[in-house]
Amino acid sequence: MAPPRHLLLILLAAASLATLAAAVYEDQVGLADWHQKYIGKVKQAVYHSQKSGRRRVVVLTEENVIASLDLRSGDIFWRHVIEKNDPVDQLGLSLAKYAVTLSMGGSTLRAWNLPDGQMIWETNLQVSKSSKPLLHFLSNSKVAKDNLVLVSAGQWIYAVSSIDGVIAWGKEFSLDGLEIKQVLQSPENDILYVVGIAGSSKLNLYQLNAKTGEVVKHIQESFPGALCGETILGSHNVLVALDETRSGLFLIEFKGESINYNKVHISDLVQDLSGRVKLLPLMSNGIIALQASSTVSLLKLKGIDGLEVIQSFEQPAAVSNALTITEKDEGFAVVRHMGSEIEFIVKFTSDVSNEVIREKINIDQHRGNIQKVFLNNYIRTDKSHGFRALLVLEDHSLLLVQQGNVVWSREDGLASIIDVTTSELPVEKDGVSVANVEHNLFEWLKGHMLKLKGTLMLASADELAAIQALRLKNSEKNKMTRDHNGFRKLLILLTKAGKVIALHTGDGRIIWSNLLPSLRASKSGEMPSALRIYQWQVPHHRVMRENPSILVVGRSGTDSAAPGVLSVLDSYSGEELNSLKFDHSVVQIIPLMLKDSSEQRLHLIVDSHYRAHLYPRSPDAINVFLHEIPNTYFYTVDIEKNVIRGHSLQKSCDLSSDDEYCFSTKELWSIVFPSDAERIAITETRKMNEVVHTQAKIIADQDVMYKYLSKNLVFVATVSPKAASEIGSAAPEEAWLVAYLIDAVTGRILHRVTHHGAQGPVHAVVSENWVVYLYFNLRAHRFEMAVIEIYDQSRADNKDVLKLILGKHNLSAPITSYIRSEVMVKSQSYFFTHSVKTMTVTQTAKGITSKQLLIGTIGDQVLALDKRFVDPRRSVNPTQQEKEEGIIPLTDSLPIIPMSYVTHSLQVEALRGIVAIPSKLESTTLVFTYGVDLFYTRLAPSRTYDSLTDEFSYALLLITIVALVAAIIFTWIWSEKKELNDKWR
């Protein structure tokens, strides 16, 4: 009897293990998931003018991405995301073969192969700290056979061969505090002119031999006033520098041996100056551009004698760099807003009064103001010059304009998502109204004609594409209505530019977008910052007349004390319904579980003075909230002071008594961590909307363990001060990590555990009654994932059925944090292979389905790890019962199963966040991952046990039914015949 049972058990175990890795087949890619690639806001663009092949542009973005784009379509040829702490400052092309980037304050120089993006060489340079490192390409190949790249940063200048990255020479100028501002090349001989400013008023001119780097000559000149450090090159030998007050310009001329200069007051040239004056890098012959807060002025240099204003443009306007068109002529572009259109003007520097091109271009109003222009020219068929330009707009999008049209656009604001929320789609109406049908009758007929053509193979390529688009639009997953399984939703994303974008989960297309006026930069140059996005109003199923709405909270400045702004948007159209400017700052936003009568969710916003403000500001909301005040607690984490505080609310604000929506708070408890031993690394709580299905866990020996389920559980991890920095800086003896479980209402520490020889970065996930946290173990030199499960010991004796029936149990007793319940803790730790960027847990509608941890690895992939692997009850030799329960034998490290990568063979570059959204179908959770890229997929942690899978063969089912029916008929006839025969007998 024993062997078969054994076999059965093994089979069971094998089956349960098989479900731990849910994978996709290669041909299923794209059915339920989508992946979008972005680059971010472009800050530098270099055109690659190639005679043959595809035209490309190499761009550098604020997300630290270097990418090569197809100029015809805007598609990405290749791209590299460079780590944030290695900021790329400069980009250039060398030999028309390599893209050269200068990063990390001028200390890292890399060359990338233009066709495929392969890194060719990397050179490390020793430089002193510099605010703005420079990259300069020696245009004259007479100097050396291999084109030299000049890098200057601070007091250093290097010449590096662009072929193999070998340093030809390096030179440090011994002058203290020197900062190199410009590197010029003499067109006649191999002399380099290096201009630097030492202190704030000493201008230094060095003449270097371009071959060896030897100093040929050094001239120093002191100025009467200080310089602010902003300099540009007016013409080949005139430097324009802003003075410290930004009200005067120094025109500095180098003439062989000497420096001559002249000071010009800007107010003499341009009237109506306000705000910060900036010099725009135009790099053209004799023309400079000056930007003030309201105007952009073009000025012409007349030697050093003075400047002449050519033209002034009202802001917002942008001026491009000068572009060499012929031997002596340069062109540049000015783009400005004209009502709803933008005007694209191209001028030549030789004849500034004339305009070569003036085009009016219509662009989407939701893109905001123009911020940057990159001009490029091409030769038309009639040998004349045509111009096109890349425009960077306020919402970070990138547009290519040519001949008055937008050729393509990229929505690159999506590379910098700050926060994500979701919204349900509208419910499908029963029966379509007549008017709707008639309105669509023509469309309907056209669609059917197209389809008919398609089936008869008469359709052209365009029509085929139209059919495909029609199919996609009508296909089940892309409908604009709610579906039964809850897979179709709107993902509402808040980007850094203050734009709110709604994507359809079916295919990731943009449904609407809105650049919020309250989050746009003001005239005074104040940059508001977007903070969070929440669901504001989610109407109940029956009340379908109203659309759901969302809440966007931001700050009117980058400082945390800046007053906040609030904006309410319609989820279906993106229209701004309401916006409000607070008179207080925003430090913490607490969405409450309460709703007012119009089903608006109540939110508490805590300001920097620990005062809580209630939103929405309606008498109804305050009535609802007043009942809940005694039960409302919140906690604040002060990382600087190393303190966690618990607060309760008190009625009415002490400052402004007339403001009934403001509440003062009282500090209930505080936990002060000793700063010399512990620093707060992370605090984590359960998700507000998490649903738990069972309160108890039945373990193998028919015993019951009650989970400690509290919404107020806070996980806090502290590390020793030495271990707070990166790996490699602390020794195991001086590094430790302390994990706390704290009740946020009473401040009681439920559990405390110290890991010696451990350090950050710490990542943690709190769900149900468990915490999983990841840290670095310095002794084993591996990452370690620890789990703590908390069980309620005070309910442990509620196992007796009789007791339950007779009511001698405390299940019906009100649950309060003030009961000092006994807790039991089980914990265990496992090694984990990769570094982790972010971690979260799957969420399902009812909480029945088992959970998976979603781990964003350093390789920008998302790994789904079943919670069963991080069970504290795993043992080396699980008993039979434990095996039946699904406990996996203990291993010291967690397995990396390649098939359980949610992102399969894709990477979500610069991964920042993972969001799990429950669908209506219990088995399935929706996963949205964002970084520079976006990735969305559906995940079934325990397989789709409640619905048929996609690969279910309906054909086989049909065949079986037909065969069964045939067999029934056949046997019936057969039996009839037999019966007849029997009767004749």
């Binding site: 041909d27 030199h781 037999k978």
Partner: protein, 250 residues
């Protein structure tokens, strides 16, 4: 120049670290390569000594204190990533994974610094302080073990590297993938057996057996017994299958 100093130091290490055979090998090798490549290296990286150990083992660089007062300690870790051409091509034809190494990143200390591998697989981190560091390699389609690299501050030239997953000590910093990763489940080819094994196939099979085998079995049963059974059936109120159908038909 401080290069001779450096050599002296590393030669001096030999006596100090006589107990560790590996350390001796490294130090001597490093010293010899330094002498041969001193001229070229010195020209290439002035004042910054880079010791390549047959271009493979990550080694030390001298302090760059002269111009970096803030970060006096500067070592260079250089190594090579090796992905077998055979396995790369296998994966290319197998699952079309991007087997190009252009997207191979080398990560120091969990993201503190990230560099890219050159086409030939070489990579280097400069100005790394002494201590114990972690190097990870991210390359789609391959699983690399993180590598623990110890740079000793007291004995420059003494570098130790070990895979953290397998605890294997590396003699040279050549990183090879532990295994290839296949992100997709392999679809089993269509077969009659799998069709028959499905629940519907089983149902069909059972029916076929009932239709064709059962009558044969009935034939084998003694006719007297059948008669008895039939009589029993007639007496019992349970209607026969054919009778039921016939009634429904009429």
């Amino acid at each position: 120049m401080r290069i001779p100093n450096q050599i002296d130091q590393s030669v001096g290490d030999i006596s100090r670290l006589a107990s560790s055979t590996w350390a001796i090998a490294t130090s001597t090798a490093a010293a010899t390569t330094t002498t041969t490549s001193t001229e070229t290296m010195a020209a290439r990286l002035p004042r910054h000594l880079l010791v390549f150990f047959t271009f493979v083992l990550g080694c030390v660089g001298a302090a760059a204190a002269a111009y970096q007062p803030g970060s006096a300690e500067g070592y260079t870790i250089a190594g090579r990533i090796k992905i077998d051409a055979a396995s790369a091509s296998a994966s290319a034809k197998g699952f079309g994974l991007p087997s190009k190494t252009s997207n191979t990143r080398v990560i120091l200390n969990g993201g503190q610094r990230v560099t890219f591998a050159r086409p030939d697989g070489y990579f280097a981190f400069h100005n790394v302080p002494a201590g114990t560091h972690l190097i990870e390699v991210s390359s789609m389609g391959y699983l690399f073990s993180p590598v623990r690299v110890d740079i000793s501050a007291r004995n420059p030239g003494h570098i130790q590297a070990a895979l953290t997953e397998t605890r294997r000590v590396l003699n040279e910093l050549v990183l090879e993938p532990l295994r290839e990763e296949q992100y997709y489940e392999i679809r089993e080819p269509f077969s009659i057996m799998s069709l028959l094994k499905s629940p519907m196939g089983l149902m069909l099979g059972f029916m076929v057996i009932m239709v064709f085998v059962m009558p044969k079995m009935m034939e084998n049963i003694d006719p007297e017994e059948i008669k008895q059974a039939q009589e029993q059936m007639r007496n019992s109120p349970v209607p026969s299958f054919s009778g039921l159908l016939a009634r429904a038909n009429s």
